[in-house]
Symmetry: C2
Subunit: 456 residues, 2 copies
């Protein structure tokens, strides 16, 4: 009989609580502030988010119960399998033991619905009838469409026009789950109309789409806005990933030396790593690595600062590593890793020395993705390939050093909707790209005059 | 705690043998014959298939061991989960208990790799270096690409030109697993060149692609041909689906009254149903239903006859329900259900009264697919939607009759690569379509003069 590759949990072993890392941090994360540097109160956020999620955002409780209706939906694909990557290990000839959580088994194919379902539930509990959001390539939009359909909410998605036109599949996926998806900028909001008047042919941007989605939430009836990453409660909803992984490691009597996740806004990285950082704070020796693209080097090159979450500065200022809210990301294929900022809690963990960060070029990532597809079989999303490339580095190092390292990473999603990126790679059309210093200085300048976090 | 939805098996509960229904049939299935009606011997097939698979094709052994290297690859996603469709049951308000096997969890997203991996293994064992095949929409081609990569074989796929041009995603998927995929007709074969000379702008057809793939296998060095359905050994490789389902039913103390699968060539239907038909032959009362599209009504309207598997008549004559080898299928979106013939073993089971057959229109199928996506979350392939539509009918009947029916069906694959079909449905561009009598009579005429099976 071949050796075990999938470590499964039964549904009754599903975590019943989310882990809130704020309870364990040696120093608290600075609060969001307004432009004068004053901490903002819950009332400021109330038009945008429901009060139950705002309470969760600031909660310092270590454990927060997952409501039963949320569990009921998550159980359609959770607990997700923990894989021992025996075929990848063999391909690498490494003495390292490599494990990955397969989050591609969810209906939308990524980790995103872990929070989409929870957010839809809390909004419904609060009496909200409709959620609005923005999406770039469509990963988050499709997850929220699914979450809203499961909870019986309407869903409105503003999708960056160039993706809306060029990547129709995710749009159809959203429609299939009953969401209303329009190209952004649209004529449905003031923000959209203003942009269209000035730039009728604009391809759109995530910043514009966020502005439209927030405006639609604030002005719409029984509407609120939903964000797929960055915020504390969003990261917390993802901790089911790491909590399950810990139980799965217990089953096989193993434990990771290294935990790796790719990091765009930070939610998939936090999801796999925070439950292990909990052990690290308590004294365990673990290396935790967030991997970002060299084209969008938030953690590795951007300063820790207060910055807005969107280009129109409609959000409060968040304490985070940020390239500046006017940052225009280069057209790399990992659409989920192109955000200008990094989640405050992830940024804070880096400052506290709890995690490390690395930046990788996309060709190395595609090469690693192909090695994964050849060996393990599953085709990874371009975002996920960043984590895989870091795993390959760690596994090769273990081989050189002849060390038995145990490596865990989050396989955050499949790449079946992102195959055009692979095509571009095969055709030799992709280039390595590091953010030019000059471009970074320009976008960093957009933060001038903003208040600074106490620990910056 | 929410009620259980996924019934899982551990890897050590994976079936170690395939079930060969030929051992249990009350009357044996007639053999393949040549144009004079003489049964063909193994030597006739030897240039096309390796001898170890030819032996499997004619074996009358009830159980055939699954080789360990095949198990090792299947275990990347098998045993697949058996779902209790509680959310669909609720949406239907039915007293029926609905279960489905989720075959969408495989790397290519369907049941197809169950046989692709096995065929690649046996060919490799026989010393073959390269497999050739044809593919329409790409479901089978991508599965064989994956299987060949896992076993270290080259893979050559002839893809119908219109799909090659219009559905690039499956083609990229094949490339990602290292296969060489060309548009058919190609200039690489005599068959292709002959067609191109006469019809330079032809969109291609499955029949032409089969002819090219067989020619390439027969004339190529260390090459053989691989078929994704229809043949006995292919159907047998799929029986892991039903065998797992039986174990999973045991775990929850249930057993199906009705077993449903969609049927194109017949392999996914056979995979779920043959292990249950084994019980039916032994006396159990089970209704087994094969569902096909009204546009390609092989089992429900076509005669039982000897016919060729391809338009150029390169294959032996197989005893099957067939619309005639010159049948040109209408452009319905369920690309996998457009084959002119039905597997000899499935056709034989219908003759023996072991199964029933139904034909459904595509609008009813898309409606059922959406109900499934709304409730269970997963987006089904257009082929799979035919099984779902039949399930909906059975569940509604159970509701009317107030009966506790237990329904099992095979969720043969996800529809993430087939979203354009959903788009066409949303846009009102799809029509119901039943094969016109006149068109059927024309293609049936292509079987005139061929020998008849003894039981026809």
């Amino acid at each position: 009989m071949p050796e075990q590759v999938k470590i499964l949990l039964n549904e009754d072993e599903m975590p019943r609580q989310w882990y809130n890392i704020q309870a364990d941090l040696p120093k608290p994360c600075p609060p969001p502030v307004d432009k004068d540097g004053n901490p903002i109160g819950p009332d400021t956020l109330a038009p945008v988010f429901p009060m139950n999620l705002i309470e969760q955002e600031v909660s310092q409780e270590r454990w927060i119960d997952i409501p039963e209706p949320v569990l009921d939906v998550l159980m359609q694909w959770r607990p997700s399998p923990l894989y021992r990557a025996r075929k990848l290990e063999k391909a690498l000839g490494t003495p390292a033991r490599i494990y990955y959580k397969n989050e591609g088994v969810s209906p939308p194919g990524s980790h995103k619905p872990n929070t989409a379902v929870a957010q839809a539930y809390y909004n419904k509990e609060f009496g909200i009838k409709r959620l609005t959001t923005e999406t770039g390539a469509g990963q988050w939009g499709s997850a929220l469409a699914y979450g809203c359909k499961q909870m019986g909410l309407e869903c409105k998605v503003y999708m960056v026009r160039i993706s809306f036109d060029q990547k129709p599949f995710r749009k159809i996926m959203m429609q299939t789950w009953g969401a209303n998806c329009v190209a952004s900028p649209s004529t449905e909001t003031q923000a959209g109309r203003a942009i269209l008047k000035e730039y009728p042919d604009t391809p759109g941007s995530l910043g514009i789409a966020i502005s439209e989605a927030i405006e639609a939430a604030v002005t719409g009836k029984d509407s609120r806005y939903s964000l797929g990453s960055v915020l504390n409660h969003v990261l917390m909803h993802q901790t089911v990933i790491g909590l399950e992984a810990k139980k799965q490691f217990e089953k096989v009597g193993d434990y990771p030396d290294v935990v790796i996740g790719c990091a765009g806004g930070g939610s998939n990285f936090a999801g796999i790593s925070f439950p292990f950082i909990c052990d690290k704070i308590a004294g365990k020796e673990i290396k935790v690595v967030a991997v970002e693209p060299s084209a969008c080097p938030t953690l590795t090159r951007a300063p820790y600062a207060y910055d807005s979450g969107d280009v129109a500065m409609m959000t409060p200022l968040l304490p985070m590593h940020s390239l500046g809210h006017t940052f225009v990301p280069p057209p790399i294929h990992a659409g989920g890793l192109r955000y200008h900022g990094m989640a405050p809690l992830v940024s804070h963990c880096l400052k506290l020395g709890l995690i490390e960060a690395g930046a990788l070029h996309q060709l190395e990532c595609y090469e690693a993705a192909l090695m994964f597809a050849y060996s393990e079989g599953f085709i990874p999303a371009p975002e996920t390939s960043h984590a895989i490339a870091q795993v390959v580095r760690e596994a090769r190092l273990a081989k050189e050093e002849g060390r038995e390292r145990v490596i865990l990473f989050n396989w955050s999603g499949h790449g079946l909707m992102d195959l055009t990126g692979y095509q571009a790679y095969f055709d030799g059309k992709l280039e390595d790209y590091a953010l030019p210093e000059e471009q970074m200085m320009r976008s960093l300048a957009s933060m001038e005059g903003l208040p600074k976090p106490p620990s910056a």
